[in-house]
């Protein structure tokens, strides 16, 4: 899944924002998460100063200006996605409906996880150790992506004439240096 702010890097974190009195979630990359963390001035830093301030905004809390702007800026894109997360009955990518998925216990594609996130949380995750993933992340998310993967992505980006992404990928591949492999 791509970052919903920059649409460049893979999403690696969730930030919660309030929009029109409704809780919304943005899946963002590490850099964008750090940016919003930086912008969010914590008025009462924890006395022990431990850990980074939480990215979650409390219920009554107004999101910082920066995040509001981001939400405005991405609203066109977000509207579809957020609405699909709130009420979705059908995955936009594979057309599986929530009823079908629930009935068969089988989702249609990776995007179903996003389309049916609310339903999945409510119906399927009660037996888990915790509500959120902790542990390893794929190298495509941590930034340790292999040359093979980057080159394949570059080819795909060129094929669909996404030259901005192609240029970014080219820079990453050059930065790896060396020859085959890592």
């Amino acid at each position: 899944m791509k970052c919903e702010i920059c649409h460049e890097a893979d999403a690696a974190a969730v930030i919660h924002v309030k929009k029109d009195g409704e809780d919304r979630e943005l899946y963002v990359c590490k850099a964008c998460a750090a940016k919003s963390r930086h912008k969010k001035k914590n008025p009462n830093p924890k006395p022990n100063g431990e850990g980074a301030p939480s990215l979650e905004f409390g219920d009554g809390e107004e999101p910082p200006e920066f995040v509001k702007n981001l939400v405005e800026a991405t609203l066109g894109f977000m509207k579809g996605v957020v609405e699909s997360e709130q009420n979705s009955r059908t995955c936009p990518a594979c057309k599986t409906t929530w009823e079908q998925a629930k009935e068969s216990g089988h989702l249609g594609c990776p995007n179903c996880w996003k389309a049916f996130a609310k339903n999945i949380r409510a119906n399927f995750l009660s037996g888990q150790y915790g509500p959120k993933h902790v542990g390893s992340m794929p190298p495509t998310v941590t930034g340790e992506a292999s040359r093979a993967y980057l080159e394949r992505e570059l080819k795909a980006a060129v094929a669909r004439e996404d030259f901005k992404r192609a240029a970014a990928l080219k820079r990453l591949i050059d930065a790896l240096g060396g020859k085959e492999g890592q």
Binding site: G105, G108, L125, G127, Q128, Y129, G130, P131, H133, T140
Partner: protein, 275 residues
């Protein structure tokens, strides 16, 4: 007959935990979920204490696969699978236990409840109308979300080690505190194995469990523990016959059970309980 303390080799972890594996499930980002597309990386381990090393090998294999694939991933749900209750690390650690000692001293239920409270599945073999046939149990973590891999690995290792200890302790209690129950279960099983005229594969599987326990503890002559294990495995592999619909079906089933009984009567004629 009187209870006597055998050599230490009668209490071996390998008699209780009869093999384990661990799997990582990965799916590709840019594909619909199908049945064939899922990557399953598997490692085997022998004793619970080997689980962390097995995970190190698994992790290396996963990194090699990650160099060639873009895995379906979500910042909240982790590695995605087609199943809405399978996400997070996608790591399952699986083992098979023989818990006849706990069964005979009557402690199986509380132990099972304790394992299930750890969010693990505890699954007996139910077949041929026999509940928990052979007291062989498969145990694995059904939860994969919310605990990092290394923590899960350590937790599962400790749970499995505790279970082995409890079973070995039950075996010791059995021969020291309740030898009559021990003798009764073994001799009853031996009597049926020697003289039953019809034996279904699953009934045989179930009857072999106390024999396996006694053989592992060094109290059986005439058949080895490993032969008992292979006999059990052979029964488990036999396909279940559908419920008989006609007299011909019934005859077919009876013929099968008669042939098995004849063979087993012969094999166990000179097997002795040496407690």
């Amino acid at each position: 007959m009187s209870a006597r303390r055998g050599p230490n080799s009668q209490f071996q972890a390998t008699h209780v935990v009869t093999g384990g594996s661990m799997c990582l499930y990965r799916n590709d980002q840019d594909r619909r979920f199908g049945t064939d597309d899922q990557h399953v990386i598997t490692e085997l381990w022998e004793l619970p204490s080997d689980i962390p090393d097995a995970y190190t090998r698994l992790e290396a294999a996963e990194r090699r696969l990650a160099a060639e694939h873009v895995f379906a991933w979500h910042p909240e749900f982790g590695y995605l699978s087609p199943f809405p209750d399978h996400c997070g690390t996608g790591l399952h650690v699986w083992a098979e236990f023989h818990l006849e000692g706990l069964n005979l001293i009557g402690d199986l239920q509380p132990v099972r409840a304790g394992i299930e409270a750890m969010r693990m599945t505890f699954h007996g073999v139910d077949a041929d109308g026999i509940h928990n046939a052979g007291h062989i149990f498969r145990i694995w973590n059904n939860a994969t979300l919310g605990l990092p891999e290394r923590k899960l690995v350590r937790r599962v290792m400790r749970t499995f080690e505790d279970l082995v200890t409890q079973e070995l302790y039950a075996r010791q209690m059995l021969i020291e505190d309740t030898p009559r129950i021990f003798e009764d279960s073994i001799m009853r099983a031996l009597a049926i194995l020697r003289s039953a005229r019809l034996l279904s594969p699953w009934e045989l599987f179930d009857l072999l469990s106390p024999i396996r326990l006694a053989a592992n503890m060094g109290y059986i002559a005439g058949i080895t523990g490993s032969e008992v294990i292979s006999l059990m495995a052979a029964q488990a592999k036999k396909p279940d016959l559908p419920p008989p619909q006609s007299i011909a079906d019934e005859r077919r089933r009876d013929n099968r059970d008669a042939a098995l009984a004849d063979r087993i009567n012969k094999r166990f004629a000179r097997v002795e309980f040496t407690f």
